[in-house]
């Protein structure tokens, strides 16, 4: 679950650091001085428990237990997780100093949210409801952490998308194991020492639950935007030049998508052609007849783009330059047929020729510009989203600093 040093980019690291400062400020403010020894001992217990390797199927994984942490401690989970990660960074070189913020945020936010969800259920009198919510909290905290880890990797560059998917999948069995363990641990605590849960009930806030719910709504939206931003990573630009369908694939960074597989489907969804792009990322093929063609570019794991091209006027040899723009020309031909025979043929020939030539020239001039525009629009999109994430982090960090400063003032 730790992200190592040197992997993430500066905006992600700063955003994580800012969020963690805010979380620490809230967590420390909510914790009473009298609770320090208790919380410290629990921190030590969690640190020891996280070193246990639990067998899962053929392999084993060490425990994270952030769901239980959230249930037992609420916002105080932030300092507890921070200290655990600090120890690991200094003692075992797992994680690291620069990633301390991101790693803490990725584990503590799910802890707080899931804790806030499960606490009201534990307060209620229905044992079954309480246990179901505990299981959801235990498993959900891991799933949410995995999504956040994957998200922070994916935000650092499109190269990490495959790695982040792998990390997410690897955490699904761990989540199930932690869900089961959470139920067993909480039911054990309720049986042996119900005061443990009573202690928690003392500092339960309905506000925290509300905040948790709000975050639960916001986070999937953020992830949705994130995945959408990634759906744009490869672009396929395709057009019909009168004889051939030409296509060009490139990545958002401007690199050509070379040696990638390209598939062509007709309007019925039948595959009519498959091939590879060349060194310039270009590809061409001769369509078998009129109709709509769907081109799919597969450029490595997760990189996929589609484009639609409509081919019309194949038989007459007239050019249909681009999808959706073929209308006027096909409308032109029947009109001309109404005229005198010989003159009409000659006239049609010349008009068709000049217009197709004209379109070709226009195409050759306009295509690079279009391409450039598409690239610009997309880059603007991506930078915008990252800036938003970084900005949120900065705001959170400033709020945390402000809270820290006001706390100092209150003491004076």
């Amino acid at each position: 679950m730790h992200i190592s040093e040197g992997v993430l980019t500066a905006p992600v690291l700063l955003a994580g650091g800012g969020g963690t400062i805010l979380g620490l400020a809230i967590g420390l403010r909510r914790m009473d001085v009298r609770e320090i020894p208790k919380v410290a001992l629990l921190t030590a217990a969690f640190f020891v428990a996280s070193l246990i390797h639990v067998p899962i199927g053929v392999s084993s994984a060490h425990l994270i237990l952030n769901g239980i942490l959230g249930i037992l401690l609420g916002w105080t989970a932030f300092p507890v997780i921070f200290i655990g990660l600090f120890f690991q960074a200094v003692l075992f070189q797992f994680g690291g100093l620069t990633t301390l913020g991101v790693n803490t945020l990725n584990m503590a936010v799910p802890a707080v949210i899931m804790g806030a969800l499960a606490r009201p259920a534990l307060r209620s009198n229905s044992g079954l409801f309480a246990m179901v919510m505990t299981a959801i909290a235990g498993a959900g905290a891991i799933i949410m952490s995995a999504v956040m880890v994957a998200g922070s990797l994916a935000l650092s560059g499109e190269s990490f998308v495959a790695v982040s998917k792998l990390i997410f999948v690897a955490h699904i069995p761990i989540a199930i194991a932690e869900g089961v363990l959470s139920v067993l641990i909480i039911s054990f605590l309720l049986k042996t020492k119900p005061e443990v849960i009573e202690v928690i009930k003392g500092n339960m806030h309905s506000r925290a639950a509300k905040l948790g719910l709000v975050s639960i709504i916001i986070i999937p939206i953020l992830i949705g935007i994130c995945s959408q931003a990634h759906a744009h990573r490869v672009n396929l630009f395709a057009w019909y030049d009168g004889k051939m369908i030409l296509a060009e694939g490139y990545f958002s960074g401007g690199n050509k998508a070379m040696d990638s597989a390209i598939l062509v489907f007709d309007s019925g969804g039948k595959e009519v052609f498959h091939g590879m792009t060349d060194k310039k990322g270009e590809f061409s093929f001769k369509p078998p007849g009129n109709g709509e063609y769907r081109l799919v570019l597969e450029a490595g794991m997760g990189h996929r783009a589609e484009a639609l091209v409509s081919v019309q006027g194949m038989e007459s040899g007239t050019a249909a330059p681009e999808a959706g723009q073929a209308g006027p020309q096909t409308a032109e031909s029947p009109e001309l047929k109404g005229d005198g025979q010989a003159a009409e043929d000659a006239y049609k020939e010349t008009v068709a020729l000049t217009s197709s030539e004209f379109e070709q020239i226009l195409d050759s001039k306009l295509n690079p510009i279009k391409e450039q525009l598409l690239r610009l629009a997309e880059q603007g999109d991506r930078v915008g989203f990252r800036d938003v994430v970084a900005g949120l982090g900065y705001i959170a960090g400033l709020m945390g600093l402000a809270m820290y400063l006001t706390q100092k003032k209150q003491k004076k």
Binding site: I83, V90, I185, N255, D259
Partner: protein, 253 residues
């Protein structure tokens, strides 16, 4: 537990002021993370290697630590070269290895190891207590410093408690496996650990109340900056500026 394994020693770095070392470690990490050029990254790695040598750490131990951390990096080497878009170098069956992917994997390996070695030389040569003490001097909230102090103080206690319980279940013939029995045993083990630590926490608090604890964290000893510390800080920051200069001259890859 063999935790603070590098903390004992008699090198310059061991005797340096922890406050200086924390600042230098943060500076080193921040500069290294931002490096984009190969030259800068190699300089950062060689600098931190020099620091490890200066700290006279057991190289065998250091490489053992590096090995564990580099397992994650190894995974990146297996994945990044063919998932990064860019100019193809070679082709392994249907997979295209890109130059950009190789570059990215190399730069991550260099940066990650550079920061880890610097942290080993600068931070792991201090005990957790002296680091927490230094943090208190940096005006880190006193609740945070106290939490670090107490959790480190009782970590060993809880750990030996845990090992005692683990031995007890082993003596009774417990074999871990993927079944509910194992999970229940571990859950009860962890639950007991929580209860024991909470009860101990209450006892500790009462004992502290008896000794007049009111939430204040008294700093009895203060660090003193020696000439050696100033030399060390000057040398490392000069080296960091050298790296920044090299980075500035060489264009980013």
């Amino acid at each position: 537990m063999t935790c603070e394994r590098f903390a004992s020693g008699k090198s310059i770095l061991h005797s340096a002021d922890p406050r200086v070392k924390i600042l230098l470690a943060i500076g080193y990490a921040v500069v290294t993370v931002g490096l984009g050029s190969l030259e800068g990254q190699v300089l950062a790695l060689s600098g931190s290697l020099l620091l490890v040598i200066a700290a006279r750490l057991s190289l065998k131990e250091v490489f053992h630590r590096l090995f564990v951390v580099n397992l994650f990096i190894l995974m990146l080497w297996f994945i990044l070269p063919w998932t990064t878009p860019g100019t193809g170098v070679t082709r392994l069956g249907p997979i295209v290895i890109t130059a950009e992917g190789l570059d990215l994997a190399l730069s991550i390996s260099l940066k990650c190891n550079a920061i880890i070695l610097a942290n080993l030389a600068l931070l792991s040569t201090s005990t957790i207590f002296s680091l927490a003490h230094a943090l208190a001097h940096f005006r880190v909230p006193t609740k945070m410093v106290q939490l670090i102090f107490f959790s480190w103080r009782y970590f060993h206690v809880i750990d030996s408690e845990f090992h005692r319980m683990k031995q007890a279940i082993k003596v009774r013939g417990f074999e871990p496996g993927s079944n509910l029995h194992t999970y229940r045993t571990y859950a009860y083990l962890i639950g007991t650990l929580f209860i024991k630590s909470l009860e101990r926490g209450e006892r500790v608090y009462k004992a502290m109340l008896c000794r007049g604890f009111d939430g204040t964290f008294w700093l009895l000893s203060h660090f003193r900056l020696h000439r050696m510390d100033i030399c060390l800080a000057g040398f490392i920051s000069a080296y960091l500026f050298l790296i920044i200069g090299v980075e500035w001259i060489n264009p980013c890859r």
